[in-house]
């Protein structure tokens, strides 16, 4: 298993800081427990040495942070990007959302990040989580050690990882990985195989839990509009609350549609959802349909590529042919 250590990242960051290549480092800072790391901007070697952490809980996608970060100083910011983050990084660049010149991107290998919610389901009262062999040991307050396999602890998005290859970086730590043959559409296929009634019941069960906290939107690298339509009082759909079951459906359909063709499937939406709604299944449906209808397309694979929804051919299929053809011919 290829892992990058905390010390290697601190070393790299310190080097780049002292060489003047960057003037700050976007990283993680430890919290109260072993799992609650917080994104943090470090500006000197002492702070890095003291507070910088890196472990399997550092799953946040930092690409979107660059929009805000690039406006803060004239100097460059160092950002560490996992393979999946590099796709969002490219996509945001395609959309001219940050200044590439102000970023120094270091690609870091990733063997999957842990989903604390999954661990909580298996272990109550977590004292610490440590990597052991190919899995994890969770020390608990009352039940002693709980051993979990990687599959039991890793986030769903990591278990169905689409690529270990970095599509953008200034420098790479460790070895380059490859685009994987992922099973990420299997859940979508299962849903497609259901009857409409079953699908409706499924989504009603999922979406009715939505509390409209907007975390999915606020974390999403593709949701980088300066003013969201759902925040705009003049849009007629500005609503802070799920005032009726319709509202949550509209919010999630429209949000998924707005990012369709631009969503890189980074999975942040599902990670942050406090109600555990599998929001990525909406985005993946669009990705799968796009692949099936208009040919394979991976958002963020290269900078400047034309997203499928701002493109067309005269031979595109008709909506009447599209519906139900969701299975597409996935190459």
């Amino acid at each position: 298993m290829q892992r990058v250590t905390r010390d290697a990242l601190v070393k790299k960051a310190t080097e780049l800081l002292s060489a003047g290549t960057v003037d700050r480092v976007l990283g993680w800072r430890a919290g109260e427990f072993s799992y609650d790391v917080t994104p943090y901007v470090f500006s000197n070697a002492e702070a890095l040495e003291k507070d910088f952490v890196f472990d399997d809980f550092c799953g946040a996608n930092f690409s979107k942070y660059l929009i805000k970060e690039c406006g803060k100083s004239e100097g460059k910011v160092l950002v560490f990007l996992k393979p999946c983050d590099t796709y969002s990084f490219n996509q945001l660049q395609t959309e001219h959302r940050f200044d590439r010149e102000k970023v120094y991107a270091v690609g870091i290998p990733c063997e999957g990040m842990v989903d604390i919610t999954k661990i909580r389901e298996k272990a109550e009262g977590i004292s610490s989580v440590e990597v052991e062999d190919s899995g994890y040991v969770v020390k608990t307050l009352y039940d002693g050690d709980v051993k979990l396999t990687a599959e039991e602890a890793l986030a769903e998005r990591c278990l169905s990882c689409k690529s270990k290859k970095h599509v953008a970086y200034d420098e790479l730590l460790g070895e380059e990985g490859e685009v994987l043959d992922s099973n990420r559409f299997s859940e979508v296929e299962k849903l497609e195989a259901m009857t409409p009634d079953e699908r409706f019941a499924f989504w009603k069960g999922e979406l009715s839990r939505c509390i409209r906290c907007n975390a999915c939107r606020d974390v999403c690298p593709a949701c980088s509009c300066e003013k969201c339509v759902f925040d705009n009082p003049k849009s007629g759909v500005e609503n802070k609350a799920i005032a009726d079951s319709f509202e949550e459906k509209m919010f999630h359909i429209i949000r998924a549609f707005h990012v369709a063709g631009r969503c890189t499937d980074c999975g942040e939406c599902s990670r942050v959802c406090p109600q555990n709604i599998p929001l990525h299944l909406l985005n993946r449906k669009f990705i799968k349909d796009i692949n099936g209808f208009y040919g394979e397309y991976q958002a963020g694979e290269e900078v400047g590529s034309r997203a499928p929804l701002v493109n067309y051919t005269t031979e595109d299929l008709e909506p009447s042919e599209a519906v139900g053809k969701g299975d597409g011919e996935n190459a």
């Binding site: 919290g31 109260e32 427990f33 799992y35 609650d36 790391v37 917080t38 994104p39 943090y40 901007v41 946040a60 942070y65 604390i116 909580r120 109550e124 009262g125 977590i126 004292s127 307050l141 009352y142 069960g205 999922e206 839990r209 509390i211 409209r212 906290c213 907007n214 975390a215 939107r217 606020d218 974390v219 925040d231 009082p233 609503n239 802070k240 609350a241 799920i242 005032a243 990670r271 942050v272 406090p274 109600q275 555990n276 709604i277």
Partner: protein, 341 residues
């Protein structure tokens, strides 16, 4: 004191349900959440529900009134519904305490009738926390998770649930379901309570202190440079406020149904950019200001206006749910200057 064996909880729930609707934590995909009891429903083993229990009295959305307009005329229709008695089982000490904090807002003059009508009708059956979690810090706010209060207080010990009425309402409630319970002495429950208190002392956040916060500290903290650092990566979502048992800010909005206008109230979040936006501008333009508002409100402003009672109950939901793992504990420790050194 009365007791029921854990095995016959279902019979107890059924007996309660015969008198009034009963809500209790049930496991779901999101974790535990309060559901109406139906035959077959099982009481969740989770320590706490995903969302807090404030929804019972202050739901996320409620229609307050309707308007009928005809030409230049308006008619205001009171569409409030009558609320009947209901029972909530499984409320933890933190959530039980949160009701008294919400009471200070909604039951202070002028009384909010929407809230009061529900509050008056609820029987709150609390359960002591046999296994408090690492995210729990209710002790910091003077809450005793072993004696959670409410109308009826439950302690689970030795395969039984021990019930004790704490209010007149609770006594009447236990009387109603007397047949489903049996008399018991307090020994086993008290022994368990003592054990719970020991466990709480050993929790990782047991040493968290509120000493440095409270009313009158606005000047001390408001201009602290630490707010910048603490809020720097806040996403500005409303997760913390919506899972919080004491966050009670709301918005009032109108919805045109095509057949008239309905005015509803919904949860709002001080973390949202338009929270204080008005026609001529916004007084909290940066996330730092909004972030500061939330924590200053809980740690300084609320105690200042409410006899030094803090606006937090240490339930730990925001610790578990914040997308960037920023939370009130980190804020307290950073501002308080402790432990981070």
């Amino acid at each position: 004191m009365r007791k029921i064996s854990l095995d016959s909880l279902a019979a107890f729930f059924e007996a309660v349900s015969a008198n009034m609707p009963l809500y209790l934590p049930v496991d779901g995909k999101e974790g535990a959440s309060y559901k109406k009891w139906e035959p077959g429903a099982t009481y969740s083993k989770a320590l706490n529900t995903n969302k807090s229990a404030k929804d019972f009295f202050f739901p996320q959305v409620e229609n307050m009134m309707a308007f009928k307009t005809e030409g230049k005329n308006i008619e205001v229709l009171d569409i409030r519904e009558d609320v009947g008695p209901f029972a909530i089982f499984g409320v933890r000490a933190c959530d039980a305490k949160s009701f008294s904090i919400l009471d200070r807002v909604f039951l202070s003059d002028p009384v909010d009738s929407f809230y009061k009508n529900r509050r008056d009708n609820a029987v709150i059956i609390t359960v002591a926390c046999s296994r408090p979690l690492e995210t729990c810090f209710c002790k910091a706010f003077g809450i005793d998770a072993a004696a959670p209060g409410g109308d009826v207080e439950c302690v689970m010990a030795e395969g039984n649930v021990y019930l004790e009425a704490k209010t007149e309402k609770g006594e009447a409630f236990l009387k109603q379901v007397e047949a489903a319970t049996e008399a018991a002495d307090a020994k086993a429950a008290e022994a368990e309570q003592a054990k719970i208190r020991e466990r709480i002392e050993k929790l990782p956040l047991a040493s968290l202190s509120t000493d440095r916060f409270g009313g009158g500290k606005t000047k001390e903290y408001f201009d602290s440079p630490l707010w910048e650092e603490l809020s720097a990566n806040c996403l500005g979502c409303g997760t913390c406020t919506f899972v919080c048992p004491t966050c009670q800010c709301y918005d009032i909005k109108d919805y045109n149904t095509g057949k008239g206008v309905q005015r509803f109230r919904c949860w709002d979040s001080c973390m949202y950019s338009d929270f204080t936006k008005m026609a001529h501008g916004n007084i909290r333009n940066s996330q730092k200001e909004r972030f500061r508002q939330r924590f200053m409100h809980k740690l300084v402003y609320f105690p200042e206006n409410n006899d030094e009672i803090f606006g937090c109950v240490g339930c730990g939901r925001c610790l578990a749910k914040c997308p960037i793992s920023m939370n009130i504990v980190k804020v307290m420790k950073t501002l308080g200057g402790a432990e981070r050194e």
